[in-house]
Symmetry: C3
């Protein structure tokens, strides 16, 4: 399908500079766009590709518009305008409705007539599948779980028993919602497994990435509020609470009973210890470790950037001598002070 620049500008609320009747079919990067493509510029890293782009039009901010050789859709938030244009030009493929003949829906489950249960999927007793829900191939929806209207489960997703999934939620391939938390009590040298009898409540518009895991609560529920976005391979332990609009990048691990505020961003491979609170509007940079509560909004870090190994190793040796160095520095300062006093 194609749309004119005029239609797109109208739909995404951008200001068109150029011929409103030009039609575009596809969104493409500045360097690889061809005739019939619309492109975008939001990351300054790619600004150098603007002057030579072959795109039919470019979505960008007002500051960049003057340098663009082709028609522009000028937006205050060009990345959002770009995202909306991608969505407009790539509408979701409509799903069939009904239950695939190879799926197994328990007679005690309730599946809305507008929903789709894909091949080899299993829906257990007591589960409720809402309107327009799409359950992909080889998924399992456990007993007494509910999937809200418009949600989509990709292939091989596991929703365990007693889990509540909101509306328009997207669960990607291999995601597991409601696995047992890692609850163990010491009994001499042996471990005693604490039954995990809480559930998981996931709000509307949440996304959980491929092969990510969200554990059920021990006694109460693990809670993921609305519009939380979780990337691939993320682990969220039992009893966590994740506030609305927080985004969590790939490979993050969050330990049990951590409570994370609203509008936080947690970059890749961050680790967050259990039983602590992080307030709203906190941003944690990649691979950092949070072991203390954070009570002030802001950016927090504890990652070290890679350097050539030879240089790195020298500094690591010194790191392991730091306390000694600090003591030696203090001694030197004291000796100096004495000398200076004597000299004065």
């Amino acid at each position: 399908m194609g749309l004119t620049l005029g239609e797109l500008a109208c739909q995404v609320g951008a200001v068109l500079q150029g011929d409103a009747l030009i039609s575009v079919q596809r969104v493409m990067t500045l360097q690889n766009a061809k005739a019939g493509d619309i492109s975008f510029l939001s990351n300054p890293r790619y600004r150098r590709h603007l002057v030579n782009t072959q795109a039919a039009a470019v979505i960008l901010g007002a500051d960049d518009a003057a340098y663009c050789p082709v028609p522009t859709l000028v937006s205050e938030n060009p990345y959002l305008a770009f995202a909306k244009v991608v969505a407009i030009l790539n509408p979701v493929v409509p799903s069939p409705r009904g239950v695939h003949p190879t799926a197994m829906v328990d007679t005690g489950a309730v599946v809305h007539e507008s929903a789709w249960i894909g091949p080899m999927s299993v829906v257990e007793a007591g589960a409720r599948i809402g309107a327009e829900v799409v359950v992909g191939a080889s998924c399992v929806v456990g007993r007494d779980s509910s999937i809200g209207a418009g949600s989509r489960l990709a292939a091989n997703v596991t929703v365990c028993h007693g889990v509540q999934i909101g509306e328009r939620v997207v669960l990607h391939q291999g995601a597991v919602i409601g696995s047992d938390g890692f609850g163990l009590a010491k009994d001499g040298e042996r471990w005693f497994k604490i039954p995990q009898v809480g559930g998981v409540v996931i709000g509307n518009d949440v996304e959980v990435g491929a092969n990510s895991t969200v554990d059920r609560g021990t006694l109460e529920d693990t809670v993921i509020e609305e519009d939380v976005r979780i990337d691939n391979q993320v682990q969220i332990a039992h009893n966590c609470f994740i506030g609305a609009h927080t985004a969590i990048a790939g490979c993050v691990g969050i330990a049990g009973s951590a409570r994370i505020g609203r509008r936080c961003t947690i970059a890749g491979a961050v680790g967050i210890a259990g039983h602590l609170d992080i307030c709203d509007d906190v941003h944690i940079t990649a691979m950092s470790m949070v072991v203390q509560p954070i009570t002030e909004p802001g950016v927090y870090s504890s990652n070290l950037p890679a350097k050539p190994n030879r240089q790195w190793r020298r500094n690591v040796v010194r790191f392991h001598q730091l306390d000694e160095m600090a003591r030696r520095l203090l001694t030197a300062e004291q000796q100096l002070a004495a000398l200076l006093e004597r000299g004065s």
Copy 2:
């Protein structure tokens, strides 16, 4: 179901202070417990909630009992007593027996009559499924593998061929036991894949978390001894040996041929290099990296806690100058020594 405090105290070996005939139905946290709930206090972090709890009774240690406004079950190990009470009040839902009509059990497999093979699951030739085993939905048990009595596979679990699983083992959703190790030999610039012909042997009472992976050995077996507890998203590479009663938290990666002792605890997102030994009773704190053998029991660390980014960045710059700083400190000390000698 409900039980009286008297019955619970008796079953978990706690000392009851209060009315033995009070009946409780549910275990709940101190802050959210209501009438009919029993609660617990073991983490001092939550002690402040004790005085106002609405619980009908609280499990706790002798030191805290005096401050409790309601009947108590006093235990030397209140966390274990709590765990046992959760288990008593939440008995495992009995599983059906037999093979679900949509499952595919090879005629060359042996399934005990008291076992359950869930919908869409596959049991390949030569596999042996023991008494009271529960195989959840959409699992695959590979050829010539065995699952010991009382073990439970949650949904979407993969047990590869030639894997031995002990008794009362729990494999959570998406876990993979017996995947190929990452064995490669250099052949010029190309890689030559080393066939992984060993197996995996998992002892009794082991738990493997959701989406965790345990690779098969190259020539011999990867071994997980009894009562080892593994959380979600953990990677255990080929030829590893994990000693009994060791617990491994989420997102840990253990490289090939590492040998870990008994009763160790490995916190979240730790990395352990290959071909090294860690002795018994070692505790590694979260996000640390172990690259050398550990021969003494104790606590080991190499993690850095997050700080405000501005402060962090200043220190990181200095970190990369550490070796130079150390040399400058030495020079200053030598000059000082000369001055002091001259002055004396």
Copy 3:
């Protein structure tokens, strides 16, 4: 099956020292080899086991041959020779051909007559499955994807729609190829999901480990070139490019639009930031974080090895004072210089 040392030496291009007619059945480690086994020595760590080995023969380098009490296969690359002997003595079990009766192949899919589609697997419309391909149990191959000749999908693998897999590719259990990238645009405090309309192109001879994930591109394709080897639990984000012959160990996370060169090795749990280039022949040590482009071949690091916790904590305290220490050192140096000048 067994083979004589003469046949093996010939097939792997090694020089036999000893009786060519000795037959061996199995490859085993030096310490555990028994009569009828062939062993190998390539990692010097295991050299001490050579003199007492019970193996019938040992594959090793010329330098070690003199110390070997049994016949030897001497090779310039003993690890490769070992790998080839393992492959020769453990030929791949031939797969059946056809479609298992419980599999669901869409009538719009094309499956080569020599391929195998395992039980409970789903092949969607438009998918093309090449010659000698083996699709294991419970896999999903999405619409319009193609799997090249000789490739093998282990159990529970998900290949999403519109993904191109080359020849002789191995996808291990639970791997997901073509999941949505984590593409979000801010719309006030809410997130707007950017449809991910690119694909994934995987070259020949690639291996992707158990529960690893490779996201599809946003607009263009995520590209994994030939002979790239990826271990378990690795996350490769949208729009990444991984050059030929690069090996990526377990638990690595690579953020979006990173471009990694040829013949790189990325050790376990490394994190690589998005939108950067790493040139050919770069080696990154375990648990390091790369946040800047790398333009020179070599070894790069930013990991810290674990130490006893008490010692570690003292140094961490100093780390957080480093900038202050550096300033104090500078002051001391200036005072010293003044004293020295005065004294001279």
